[in-house]
Symmetry: C2
Subunit: 237 residues, 2 copies
């Protein structure tokens, strides 16, 4: 363990410091979770390496929804607002969390972003709130953001062995989305079936949906999965 | 800054702790660097996200070399020895550094790996020592490993905007290797020219080589680049 981003080396910082940092984060995440559930909002922590297709999947989801579910998003990025601009063009109320050189989002970053009145109103009014994490298959797994679901993206272009090599992320996943499946015919060494098998070796209750943001394949299945996981509101909206 | 893996949030741990950790690492890295230079070995820190093609590029380099340069490698991985097994099959003397949940290599991990007599002898006898970092486009940039060159891989399958969104890594790069260029005909939205332009916007002295581990394109250019950067031995080998 790196003991701060929680992904490093236990030699680096005392276990006490690490435990305290994660406890603070968990406390703030629990607070966020209460708000999300109370408002009947499914918060989804969307994780994957750079280029796995996180933003493209949200764009495709917005296209497929056609108003069936209301969505909102924040997008974590070291630099630029490129993703949030793409989400806005796709009609998704959204904001950027600029992390500078940070390798992950934490609960306080999400909490701070929700201090913006416009975003906060959009989140309270939505059914699914996507928290698009920093592109990284290691560190984001450690930090609870108050989400109701962890979704991990894996592009078929990046080889079949990634679940085995980066198991931490998959152990905490509720859903793995294979992306870019339209490219499979051009990837002779890659099999979606083998990727599914490798996911099943590290993910406790393996659930995989195969998607393409280009063709729209699998997006309806994803929407149904999200819809089924929405919390029931405990107060009138 | 996350202040330990160096990639997080400055609110997390005191600046003193962070500075001390990086100073310890820099000290150990300087020690490694002296040994590498003394032995006439070019140590190369190979970085990129999971699936960028780091191992495939080393395999292709070994095939292209046909004995012209002697190489050795270590491969940093959270779990599994899959990469080191591939490197061994490609005829590259190599070892795995298993990081558990760590998101990056540091100098002490490389130093510890070199305590293995077989690997150490292979490194002393080689011309180029590849240090294949953990697949991550954020955290590995912070830690000096005693390398003589930073090489960052970017696959053309993962979109053209990555240099802009993950600039920290590219600011410290000596070379960017575009990988999987054989797939460009199947990626209508992707242009190697635009990727080069985006690299040039964040990399101080932009140097880009386009490669394919499938066709072998660009590998000779990479080998020439490596050969030209080798340190001159300061003592008989």
């Amino acid at each position: 363990m790196c003991d701060v981003c929680g992904c490093g080396d236990q030699r680096k910082v005392s276990i006490e410091v690490h435990a305290s940092l994660l406890a603070d984060n968990d406390h703030e995440a629990a607070h966020l979770r209460e708000h999300f559930v109370e408002a009947g909002v499914l918060a989804v922590n969307v994780m994957g390496y750079p280029g796995a297709g996180k933003t493209a999947l949200l764009e495709a989801t917005a296209r497929a929804l056609a108003g069936r579910l209301r969505i909102a998003a924040v997008s974590g990025d070291l630099a630029t607002e490129l993703d949030a601009e793409r989400l806005a063009r796709a009609g998704i109320p959204s904001a950027t969390i600029t992390t500078g050189s940070a390798c992950h989002l934490d609960a306080s970053m999400v909490h701070d972003a929700l201090h913006d009145a416009t975003l906060s109103a959009a989140v309270r009014a939505c059914d699914v709130f996507f928290i698009e994490n920093v592109g990284n298959l290691v560190c984001p797994a450690i930090y609870d953001l108050g989400q109701g679901a962890n979704v991990v993206l894996l592009s078929v272009t990046e080889g079949v062995d990634k679940p085995l090599k980066y198991p931490v992320m998959f152990r905490k996943a509720d859903l793995v989305v294979l992306t870019k499946v339209d490219l499979l015919p051009h990837l002779p060494g890659v099999s979606a079936g083998v990727m599914r098998e490798n996911v099943a070796r590290v993910m406790p209750s393996a659930r995989v949906i195969e998607t393409s943001a280009v063709t729209g394949a699998g997006v309806d299945e994803l929407v149904a999965w999200l819809d089924a996981r929405r919390p029931r509101p405990v107060q009138p909206r």
